[in-house]
């Protein structure tokens, strides 16, 4: 019942949950290409930055917030609404802390100051 309503309402957005096998093949293709691209990209990340990289990819994977938002908009059940809300809270915590942390760590990396090192580095 619920799903039909949703499917009608989002007729032009790709329908969620039960979609055509053609879409499925496209999704598999996207998944495979993105995985190969990811492997190539990560192999070229300098080892200096592996720690901020992990903070960054952690934040990126919290894109699952979008899934939680979609559930929040579609469900009518109280329990499921709460599950999705908890999902949004967890994912947004990760997103916010992840991106602030990446910025903080990356700023630590500096080149050589050509003059004498400072007396009391407070950073």
């Amino acid at each position: 019942m619920m799903l039909e309503l949703v499917a009608n309402a989002t007729a032009t957005l790709p329908p969620a949950i039960s979609y055509s096998s053609q879409d499925l093949v496209t999704n598999l293709l996207v998944f495979i290409m993105a995985t190969f691209l990811g492997v190539e990209l990560i192999r070229h990340v300098t080892r200096l930055l592996h720690t901020p990289l992990m903070a960054l990819t952690n934040a990126i994977s919290s894109i699952s917030m979008i899934a939680a938002l979609i559930v929040m908009s579609e469900t009518t059940d109280q329990t499921l609404l709460i599950l999705a809300t908890v999902g949004v809270a967890l994912a947004s915590t990760n997103i916010i802390s992840g991106f602030i942390l990446v910025e903080r760590i990356v700023r630590l990396f500096k080149t050589k100051p050509k003059e004498k090192p400072k007396e009391k580095p407070t950073n």
Binding site: S18, F31, S64, L90
Partner: protein, 463 residues
């Protein structure tokens, strides 16, 4: 529906491009700042487009949840010490994986009557992955925070029990896919997945954490991609698989740096033998080592022309990175060449040592990777090892019966003089005695790394 779907999809494409660019920016320190920023922008527009396309009735809950994210997330990010970054990473993986697992469960309950077999299978797999990663990350956090012993928890038949639990979880998942109306099975599947994740990481030792954290990172990404398949959302699929492949590549780099396979890291229980070999170490104590005071070390260093510092996890534990930088500054003022040699698995997460030293204002061009620094050791006058052990053990090259044999190491033993700063003669994580201690060109300095280095600073200043 307020925003035209075509625009939503186009904004998702823009988000995908920004995520890809962000990883590209991480290839160089000079562009790295844009890495975080472009991904943040991608995330912001992706979330905004979703909110514009899907009407959320309970705006109060939405705002509350995002507010919690701000209130909890901001202090974590601003206050966490660089030494505690591995723990923070474990916590964030726990949050991320719990989020995907809970959302997956919500979708299952919501759609189980109408979804097709493929969607149900992906959802079940995604939930197993999410729940096991959640439990595993919690245990990884507890081990890194030293709430529980870092030593692997092993017992006879450990791997059999773990695999059996995973098989049961998978069997329940198959049942759920076949009989989706039997939703009572979902919590059962979740409990078995949690149990598997718990036992998996309990069986892994502290020094293997870089690999474990990377693998868990990969799982979180994979389950997010799974949600993308369920919702037919390509932004989720791409972002999830970028994270999945990132964790996978990092785990591969880590395990290659230890000359071990994934399976060995996950199921080998290396380091469990520490207790058994402690007696062996006591026996080995009889072998003579040469030890020095910090003052003697200062004299040796002043007569050197090139010095390589090799840090390990012990440096992080002793919070000695700032003191190391002081020693290096004093030496550089005397015209001595100072470099840092970083082993890929030094520390408790990938790249950990680099961040600690960068925090102490060490210019990153003085941080040398193992492959680049190793050929320079024969021309190095003094190598100083601070808080590293197994990654310097020459047995990895020479003794085929050593558990370390075949692991690429820092060839500090080839330096003209080795200064080894260490608390005691206890063996490293692998449980094997370090052959380096007994070499004629090795001098041990016993004591807390920070204390020894502070004494060294005082001695260098006095001269």
């Amino acid at each position: 529906m307020t925003l035209d779907p075509t625009y939503v999809l186009l904004i998702y494409v823009a988000g995908i491009i920004l995520f890809i660019l962000s990883l590209r920016f991480m290839s160089d320190v000079k562009t790295a700042r844009w890495g975080g920023r472009s991904a943040a922008l991608g995330m912001a527009i992706g979330v905004a487009a979703t909110l514009a396309a899907y009407t959320i009735q309970r705006v109060d809950l939405l705002i509350g949840a995002i507010l919690i994210g701000f209130v909890v997330g901001t202090p974590i990010a601003l206050r966490v010490a660089t030494t505690a970054l591995p723990q923070r990473t474990a916590v964030s993986q726990a949050f991320g994986s719990l989020a995907v697992a809970l959302v997956g469960a919500a979708e299952f309950y919501d759609y189980h009557t109408t979804a097709n077999t493929f969607t149900l299978s992906v959802l079940s797999a995604e939930m197993i992955l999410g729940f096991l990663t959640f439990a595993g990350s919690c245990i990884a956090f507890a081990k890194l925070q030293e709430l529980i012993p870092g030593r692997p928890f092993v017992y006879p038949g450990k791997n059999f029990v773990s695999i059996a639990i995973l098989v049961v979880a998978a069997a329940v998942a198959v049942f759920l896919v076949a009989e989706p109306s039997q939703t009572f099975a979902l919590p059962i599947m979740a409990v078995f997945a949690l149990a598997f994740g718990f036992l998996l990481v309990m069986g892994i030792g502290g020094a293997d954490m870089p690999t474990v954290i990377a693998i868990l990172n990969s799982y979180t990404g994979m389950s997010a991609a799974g949600l993308g398949f369920v919702l037919n959302n390509k932004l989720l699929i791409v972002a999830g698989s970028l994270d999945g492949s990132s964790g996978f590549v990092l785990a591969l780099i880590m395990s290659q740096a230890m000359n071990r396979s994934f399976t060995n890291v996950l199921f080998g229980g290396v380091g469990a033998k520490v207790v058994k070999t402690a007696a062996g170490a006591a026996a080995a104590q009889a072998r003579p080592v040469q030890s020095l005071s910090a003052g003697d070390v200062a004299t040796i260093l002043e007569n050197a022309r090139s010095v390589v510092i090799v840090p390990g996890y012990g440096m992080a534990v002793a919070q000695a990175q700032h003191t190391i930088k002081e020693v290096a500054d004093l030496l550089q003022e005397k015209g001595i060449d100072v470099k840092y040699g970083i082993h890929p698995v030094a520390g408790r997460m990938p790249g950990h040592m680099n961040v600690l030293l960068a925090e102490a204002n060490v210019p990153y061009d003085q941080l040398w990777e193992m492959e680049k620094i190793n050929p320079t050791f024969p021309e190095t006058d003094v190598a100083i090892v601070v808080g590293a052990n197994d990654v310097t053990n020459p047995a990895a090259r020479t003794k085929p019966d050593s558990p370390l044999y075949g692991m690429p190491i820092m060839n500090v033993d080839k330096a003209k003089t080795v200064i080894f700063i260490k608390r005691s003669m206890s063996p490293g994580f692998s449980g094997s005695d370090n052959e380096l201690f007994y070499l004629p060109n090795t001098w041990m300095v016993f004591g807390d790394a920070k204390k020894v280095l502070s004494d060294l600073v005082a001695a260098l200043k006095a001269s």
